[in-house]
């Protein structure tokens, strides 16, 4: 089985020219390697140089996956390198060296990058990465130019130059210039090496302390900064005869302190429709924020023609420092700032969310689930689901009457599946976004679902989701919160999925696909194939670990399966003395009606430890109750036991006891919630038992595909249980 992560690092930026080199990309580096990490460039011309990587920033798009560490991004600007046209990059650290992909990098010419975040009658501010020897200026239309000097460290920027506090920010004061005297509207532009990087139209003296509607400065919308690396491209030239736009307006309904030193801001931005979206942020800039925008149809209906609006919810860390915190917004090519009105302005956080557009709240909850700044809203003092508790309580439960037919399933593998048979009027463009709600010690923990593309037909939608952040199996039962978008409308529901073992969940999916209203077979099989491949990669990454140690001969745990008949219990009664002479503990696996009488045989005798059960949790019993994990495991079917005793064989461990937790996890992903079934499959996969149990009737190509996929887990992961094979 192939691993998910073929790459441990990647170069996505390599530029060289004007005496500087910009190298950017990401690397998956163990936590222990961070302090010593250095970026090394080696060229065929003999250059080999390395630089410390002190700003390796987490990338939300490259989360840790089980043992695989999270990806971290870098953007390093170095000076003084001789010209080079080809090279290889690697990250070296105390624990080794990680070669970055591609193996040969050809640098593009260096181009400056930066952004003019804003300007008013007194000052302009923004950031800039450029070659020191090239010209970098603020141009004031008709008024002259001011050289830009970057001297502000901005924690929200990913760029690094090897210094402790890299300074790529600037804040220019116009004192003494004509612009500062407020003579008429002027365009202010940021230009470096002849490239215009940003422009703001300044209409007059700033009215920063004024009403919310006072949007004095405009500017190009930047990306939301929530941990992803952001990079601004040069701004295209504006159309020459564009009429001045009506200024944007900001309405701030609420500004409330929430947990973890964060603020929740809610309100609305109105601007002249330009096809874009507004952006907002707190100043001084917070390293991370969660911003969601949502439609406000009622407000929109009341606006003048050409005007539009969007509601917003913004969560960010409360700005530090001595400067008064401000809210900055950019919309319709213009920007504005507004000081915050205090931290108890407007409704309470739960009321804010209760009153906000549901699409916004849903996606803010997704932000929170993903660990963004919005997770501050999940603070327990605000309710089981934090500030979302009240809103969640109002989300309707999905009823079958809502659609002709709805099915939802969840598996302990952290998967969910849904099948909707849709009204033809709704159509095949329906999009489903899922969020899991996990109960956790009286609280509700939202987790985003990684969704495969849905399979749709004219009247059916099949969706599959997986909890990607799961590190332990089995997952607890969870509810689903979903957004369903179709025909420009959205609906939100909660649903309590029916719990099924993973194989049955997959079977339910393909059996629904085979219904008359489902897609045609070829489409279904292709979809299923991709889904299973993604599933295999996800789970393999979680399950693959270090090979186990060789098992000691003692203590020996005898795991007996096939205890599925009263006659098997009788056999156990007859064989008890022989078992006790050969094993240190026995694990009886099967239905309770048979394991309990089996335990009744061993426990009163008290000669060896006896454990038993039906579910996968039974596999935990021996280790939890003190059996030394260095010992060995022998798995036998009851009939194999009888044959071994008839031959008067000694028992030899075949597997390490320490493998039992992994067995439980694999069974959760690719087996039934049945410990006897799990050990039978493991015995078969490791070549020590009877043929493996099947996965039900394979009465279709889809069923065969699923069965092959599931069997593949056992075959593929079996070497993890066999120290000999792992050593080889």
């Amino acid at each position: 089985m192939s691993g998910v992560y073929a790459l441990d690092g990647y170069v996505d930026t390599a530029e060289h020219g004007d005496g500087v080199t910009l190298l950017g990309g990401w690397v998956r580096l163990p936590e222990a390697g961070l302090p010593s990490a250095r970026l090394r460039l080696t060229t065929p011309g003999g250059v080999s140089q390395d630089w410390p990587l002190t700003r390796l920033l987490a990338r939300r798009d490259l989360p840790a996956e089980g043992e695989v560490p999270a990806g971290r991004g870098f953007q390093l600007l170095v000076r003084g390198l001789p010209d080079w046209t080809e090279g290889a990059l690697a990250v070296v650290h105390a624990g080794g060296e990680i070669l970055l992909h591609p193996p040969a990098v050809n640098p593009a010419p260096f181009r400056p990058r930066g952004h003019l975040d804003g300007a008013d009658g007194k000052e302009a501010w923004g950031w800039l990465v450029h070659a020191p020897g090239t010209e970098a200026v603020i141009e004031m239309e008709g008024m002259g130019r001011l050289p830009v000097r970057c001297d502000i460290h901005r924690a929200d920027l990913p760029f690094d130059d090897g210094s402790p506090l890299p300074a790529f920010g600037f804040h220019l004061h116009f004192a003494g210039t004509a612009l500062a005297n407020g003579r008429g509207p002027r365009r202010v532009a940021l230009r470096a090496a002849g490239v215009k990087l940003g422009e703001v139209v300044v209409e007059g003296q700033a009215a920063i302390a004024g009403a919310p509607a006072g949007a004095e400065a405009g500017g190009r919308a930047n990306s939301r900064i929530t941990g992803l690396l952001a990079e601004a491209a040069p701004l295209p030239e504006p159309p020459p005869a564009a009429p001045p736009a009506e200024p944007p307006q900001l309405v701030l309904h609420a500004c409330r302190a929430v947990g973890g030193g964060h603020l929740l801001l809610a309100g609305r931005v109105e601007w002249t429709e330009d096809g874009g979206e507004p952006s907002l942020r707190l100043l001084p800039a917070s390293p991370a924020q969660s911003l969601v925008l949502f439609d406000e149809p009622d407000e929109l209906a009341g606006l003048a023609p050409g005007r539009t609006c969007r509601g917003f919810l913004l969560v960010a860390a409360r700005p530090g420092g001595t400067e008064p915190p401000m809210l900055e917004w950019v919309a319709g090519g213009q920007a504005g700032r507004q000081p915050l009105p205090g931290e108890a302005h407007g409704p309470t956080p739960d009321a804010v969310l209760h009153q906000a557009g549901w699409g916004g709240v849903f996606h803010l909850l997704r932000e929170a689930a993903g660990g963004g700044a919005a997770s501050a809203l999940l603070a327990p003092q605000l309710g089981p689901a934090g500030a979302f508790t009240r809103w969640l309580a109002g989300v309707p439960w999905l009823e079958p009457a809502d659609f002709p037919r709805v099915e939802a399933w969840a598996a302990p593998s952290g998967e969910c599946a849904m099948a909707f048979t849709l009204d033809p009027a709704i159509g095949p463009d329906t999009r489903l976004t899922l969020l899991a709600l996990l109960p956790e010690g009286g609280r509700v923990r939202p987790l985003p679902m990684a969704q495969s593309p849905a399979l749709t037909s004219e009247t059916m939608l099949l969706a599959h989701g997986l909890l990607p952040q799961l590190t332990e199996l089995p997952a607890p039962p969870f509810e689903l919160l979903m957004e369903m978008r179709h025909a420009g409308e959205a609906q939100w529901f909660r649903v309590s999925p029916r719990s099924l073992p993973a194989p049955l969940l997959l079977a339910a999916l393909h059996r629904h696909a085979a219904l008359p209203e489902g897609p045609e077979l070829g489409e279904t099989l292709a979809w299923l194939h991709d889904l299973l491949a993604a599933r295999e990669e996800s789970f393999a990454a979680m399950l693959i670990g270090a090979p186990p140690p060789l098992p000691a001969a003692r203590p020996l745990l005898l795991a007996l399966h096939g205890l599925d008949d009263a006659e098997a219990v009788r056999l156990l009664a007859m064989a008890a003395p022989a078992i006790e002479a050969r094993a240190d503990a026995v694990l009886l696996l099967g239905p309770r009606e048979f394991t309990e009488p089996g335990l009744e045989i061993f426990l009163p005798r008290g000669r060896i430890a006896a454990h038993g059960g039906a579910g996968l949790a039974a596999l935990r019993g021996p280790l939890r109750r003190g059996l030394d994990p260095a010992g060995g495991l022998l798995i036998l079917d009851m009939l194999e036991l009888a044959a071994a005793l008839e031959r008067e064989e000694a028992f030899q461990p075949r597997l390490p006891l320490s493998a039992l937790p992994l067995l439980e996890q694999i069974a959760t992903v690719a087996g039934l919630p049945d410990a006897a079934d799990a050990v039978a499959r493991l015995a078969a996969a490791t070549g020590a038992g009877l043929p493996p149990p099947g996965f039900g009737a394979q009465d279709s190509a889809a069923a065969r595909l699923v069965a092959t996929h599931l069997h593949g887990f056992w075959r593929g992961l079996a070497p993890l249980f066999q120290p000999e094979a792992a050593d080889g």
């Binding site: 008949d565 006659e567 009788r570 009664a573 007859m574 003395p577 009851m638 009939l639 009888a642 008839e646």
Partner: protein
Amino acid sequence: MAEAPIAVCIIAHAHPAFTKGGGEMAAFREFTTLRAAGHRAILVAAAEMGPAVPGGRLLRHGPDEHLYDPYGMTEDRLFWSDLAAREALLALLVAQPVQVFHIHHLWRVGLDLVAALMEARPDARFVLTLHEMLAICAHHGQMIRTRGRELCHASAPALCANCFPERTPRHFALRRATWLTLLNRFDGAIYPSDFLRRRFRDWGFAAREETVLENFLGEELAAAPRAPAEPGLGQHFAFFGQPTPFKGLDVLIRGFALALAREPGLFLSLHGCEREEVLRLFPALEAALEAAGPAIFFAGRYDAGDVLGLMRLSGWVVVPSIWWENSPVVIQEARRAGVPLIVSDIGGMAEKVRPGLDGLHFRRGNAPDLARVLLAAAAPGRQEALAASQADSIGREEFLARLLPALAGAAGG
């Protein structure tokens, strides 16, 4: 007889004071014969003694004779569900001052009881007499198919599941493993017939020590003189036994009716059953019985002590069983009585009756063939000739001479 007396605890599934099946009779006769021969024999036998008592009931029935009630056993009487009852019985058995435990039947004794006794008395020898094939066959050990009356020649999980569709082949494989796991722990096995021994071997059980030893009929019958056959009884046939579906009474009556039609002087007496009982079991026989008229006589129940005398009132004893009959007591009694036999040609019957010496064989379940053999038997001089060559049943001395080594451990293979 062994040089030194031995002490044996005989465990039996029943006591002849209550029921008179072949197994309990054999166990009891062993008990009395050993005692009479100067050995210490203790009998512990199952018997229903009034209402069930939780925890079981043990009763001293006589000197070295104990009874236990089997109410605390599972429905199939192979294991104990009332562990208190089992423990009480176990305590009694463990305390017996014997070197050998000789068990007749595991039914109504309990595989788990014997396993526990083996653990508790590792110093003792354990010998089992396998009177029947319950270990091999879930159909009362008869090895006859449940649907129809077809004989079963060898057990196999798939075949057994065919007889019991509600159970799986795996169930029967486990059942066999259960029995074998216990049987393999016995020091020796005694078979009343070589037929039984072969069946167990074919099934997969080869005891460490095997002895084929016919059941002893007991002191009283053994002591009875073997009188010469009464003249003129060659056309007089008799049946001794219960009217069960497997005893072949229907075959006998049909065959006899056919023979009677050819030879009007024939006569058949049926001992141990009444006409109504037979018709309840085989309603279709009414016409044959009507046709036979007074040539068939229902003699009703008889006392076991009278059996030799009753047999001698007939020229032939017919054993028409359609099942294997592991080692029928009736055959031993007829040989003791000196009355030749006509038997089905299968199992213990075929083994115990040498054709042309002890009697005649007919094809099992085949009424016309039985009619043919009855007519041949009725021929003048035939009965007298076979009566003269017929072997007697095993005597007391021979029985003890072979039993004691089997118990004490010198039986060899």
